[in-house]
Symmetry: C2
Subunit: 162 residues, 2 copies
DNA sequence: TTGCGTGCAAAGGTTTTGCATGGCA
DNA sequence: TGCCATGCAAAACCTTTGCACGCAA
């Protein structure tokens, strides 16, 4: 195995370490810059972008475009992070309040299979984000919509972050 | 009904006309700028963004964030465009070649229902894009992956654009 | 006439790039 | 020693904003 990942530098180690210790977070370049500066290990913005790109190519981190517009963000977890945090499930993002819901649900995996087998398209769950309105915001908006009222009889796990 | 849409200006009409005549396209602000300039009806970038924002608020056009990063794009079709082009189905975007696939599939609508009823989250199909690898690119990459080889026994309609 | 819409240019934020220097192997 | 990585600053992009003027109603 030759030069997998190029040179070993302090900057690369620090970035990876940060992402590793926050496996559930989707971090933007700006947040990373800020966090590492406070961390006592400041570095240039260019370095952050360049290293994130490399780490992504190595399969150690994933890049997302969660914000409707604006900045991209990254998260630890590739093939080598089997213990798995977010690469196996889907994300739901509320366009109202911005809440990000992690949803690990068999129904959704079924869909991915269907699309792959019947439409020839391999969905990448780690890059796909469902946009819509979350439960809380729908209730705040005063449109409970009984037909879609949750009845919580599903075994699927889901939790929120950010 | 008062001032629905404010003043009637040449610029607004031209933008809307362009989107109306290309209902299947997802157009970026830059493309619009270029097209309208060639069209003989040039206008400032700021006007384009401002009008697109208004048209979106009026429900006449939809805003998407299709590109992994970079620019947003817009498409004709809101509540008033019932004949419907893209607001009722899902989009699959190939991260390899950029192809955008429009997929109108019952399985997917079923999923949306499941997520709504069991997880309390109302998915907005018009804003949700599935990322992954399309059939053509998977074959080019030389990884046919027999388990997910398409067998085309699905009645769902799908077509490509852009 | 009133005030929204327009155009231009400047400013905003995110990401990329050029170039000289620094540091890993 | 040979390159790759870094840092800084400038540039590239997309989008928004300020301001004076134009135009719809």
């Amino acid at each position: 195995m030759q030069r997998k990942g190029g040179y070993q530098t302090r900057q690369k180690a620090v970035i990876l370490a940060y992402l590793e210790t926050h496996p559930e977070r989707h971090v933007t370049a700006a947040e990373l810059l800020h966090a590492l500066t406070e961390n006592g290990t400041p570095m240039g913005v260019a370095t952050i972008y360049r290293q994130l790109e490399k780490l992504e190519q190595e399969g150690l981190v994933r890049r997302y475009s969660l914000d409707d517009r604006g900045s991209a963000c990254w998260q630890y977890g590739g093939e080598e992070a089997k213990a798995g945090t977010c690469h196996s499930h889907f994300h739901l993002k509320c366009t109202e309040c911005g809440t990000l819901i992690h949803l690990d649900c068999d129904h959704l995996h079924e869909i991915a299979h269907h699309v792959a087998s019947d439409h020839g398209f391999c969905i990448d769950p780690s890059r796909t984000v469902f946009y819509g309105i979350c439960e809380a915001c729908r209730k705040n908006a005063g449109s409970p919509d009984p037909e879609t009222e949750p009845h919580h009889d599903c075994c699927c796990r889901h939790h929120k972050t950010e």
